[in-house]
């Protein structure tokens, strides 16, 4: 069984006052996804993937998904393992 936790490569943008926002990420199959909008950020644990981090709820192609910033890495949840 594969893990539900997928570490992804993320490009982020820092604003002049130091706020970090993800701009795009690359899924494990190499596809690049552009983030249209960050809807919210809050600390949240992911029981499915196993871990905790700052969860960014983002819109990609009109679909909502979650990116977790875990100390110094980014992960996402796989739909099914």
């Amino acid at each position: 069984m594969e893990s539900y936790k997928v570490y992804v490569e993320v490009t982020v943008k820092f604003s002049t006052d130091g706020v970090m926002m993800p701009v795009e990420f690359i899924w494990e199959d190499g596809t690049k996804y552009i983030i249209d909008k960050v809807k919210s950020k809050e600390r949240c644990a992911s029981r499915k993937a196993g871990g905790t981090g700052i969860m960014y709820t983002v819109l990609v192609d009109g679909k909502e998904c979650h990116l977790y910033y875990e100390f110094d890495k980014w992960f996402m949840e796989r739909k099914s393992a």
Binding site: E42, R43, A45, R47, G50, G51, T52, F71
Partner: protein
């Protein structure tokens, strides 16, 4: 207004963090334990499933495997747990600035002044409980009361993930039924004494004549008597991890069981060298030395003694530690782990009353010698210079105590 104190306790802290990071082990018994190869093989924390099969903290790995054959072991990741510990504190700090950590998984919070903004004790407790679950993926049990002692009993009352409030109307009915050993500072030997006089519950303790308790247990008799009655007004002292150092200690589980005085001398020397070097590094001297001993049956005790003059000299601390050992251990069993601690610290620059019968010249020489050794080790590594007698057993003396990891328990009274 009466104080509102919360005590928050992260349930099976290390194990809960590991459960979060290993979703594949859901529903399975899990224990966080040391490296079996290096013989530091004891259970640090077990999850509830493992605990139900009889796995207990402090068990050797093989013992735990015996009572629970399916037990999954994961090695400890202290840095991760400390990150969780500070994330917990971050949540607490949104409700009060008066937070007193007790170890890395427990803390007292004085929320008396937060009620206008955040609601009463129960509301805050519920909010913290819910947030920790959602944000960190672990659970906390919280006790609410008007004093720290009862708040702590409350966090123990319903586990995991419970909230218990002890107020003036229900404490007699609830707390007084609890066994007296649940009370903070009623350890094994105090409990034995109390049992001898038929004092089994906290209520029975609360109704005992305090003079009798003082005669039997000394000053601590009065302290636990007050605790049992809820007369504890010690403040929740906001204290960060950078609190002034009160003691410096080191302990180790040895690579093999210690069986004779020479073994003990070697390990004590390695530990003393580490402790004394750290005293010197921070510019402290100690007035008291204590040792702790755990035999291979995991029976544990500690003893301390005052020393004549404040010191940071390795040989003097070693002498005191070894003397303590000789006075208090009679080799009923081999020893599994040893610890030494320098207590009652003062600044190294403290004026000292010279003693006619102590050779101050010699002490000065020893101080210089220690400094020279510290400098050599700083530049060329710990093992670059060794005492000759350490070479009598290279396995034991291979210990570089200063480098190995240590975690210190904190006292309730904070030196008050």
């Amino acid at each position: 207004m009466e104080k509102v104190v919360l005590h928050s306790d992260a349930n099976c802290f290390y194990a809960s963090v590991e459960m979060l990071y290993h979703p594949e082990y859901v529903g399975k018994p899990l224990a966080v334990g040391g490296d079996p190869e290096a013989r530091h093989g004891i259970v640090l924390t077990a999850n509830y499933i493992a605990k139900r099969s009889g796995v207990k903290t402090g068990m050797a790995l093989w013992q735990a495997k015996q009572v629970c054959p399916d037990l999954i072991f994961v090695p400890p990741r202290m840095d991760l747990y400390l990150k969780f510990s500070s994330m917990l504190r971050e949540i607490y700090s949104e409700y009060t600035n008066q937070i007193e950590p007790y170890g890395c998984d427990e803390a007292w919070l004085d929320v008396t002044d937060s009620s206008l903004l955040k609601g009463n004790g129960r509301k805050i407790a519920e909010e913290i409980n819910r947030r920790v679950k959602k944000e960190l993926g672990i659970t906390v049990s919280i006790g609410i009361s008007w004093n720290k002692i009862f708040a702590k009993l409350g966090s123990d009352y319903k586990k995991p993930d419970g909230i218990t409030e002890f107020n003036r109307t229900n404490y007699r009915e609830l707390i007084w039924k609890l066994p007296v050993s649940d009370l903070l500072y009623v350890g094994r030997s105090t409990n034995r004494t109390l049992q001898k006089y038929g004092i089994r519950t906290i209520g029975e303790l609360a109704r005992t004549d305090p003079n009798f308790l003082e005669r039997q247990l000394g000053k601590m008799g009065l302290v636990i008597f007050s605790f049992a009655n809820g007369w504890d007004d010690s403040p929740v002292t906001a204290e960060s991890y950078h609190a002034p150092i009160k003691s410096i200690g080191n302990s180790t589980t040895t690579p093999r069981d210690l069986e004779c005085d020479q073994d003990v001398q070697i390990i004590l020397m390695a530990l003393t060298e580490s402790v004394a070097a750290r005293l010197r590094k921070h510019g402290f001297k100690c007035n008291e030395v204590s040792i702790s001993i755990r035999d291979n049956d995991l029976y544990h005790f500690s003893r301390q003694k005052k020393i004549q003059e404040p010191t940071d000299i390795t040989d003097e601390i070693m002498k005191a530690a070894y003397q303590l050992f000789k006075e208090n251990y009679h080799w009923s069993r081999p020893i599994r782990s040893l610890g030494i601690r320098a207590d009652d610290l003062v600044m190294g620059t403290v004026p000292v009353q010279l003693d006619l019968f102590m050779n101050e010249q010699r002490r000065e020489k020893q101080e210089k010698l220690d400094r020279a050794v510290d400098e050599i080790r700083r530049r060329f590594g710990y093992h670059s210079v060794q005492r000759a007698f350490m070479y009598q057993d290279k396995v034991l003396s291979s210990l570089d105590a200063q480098k190995s990891h240590t975690v210190h328990p904190v006292g309730y009274f904070n030196g008050r």
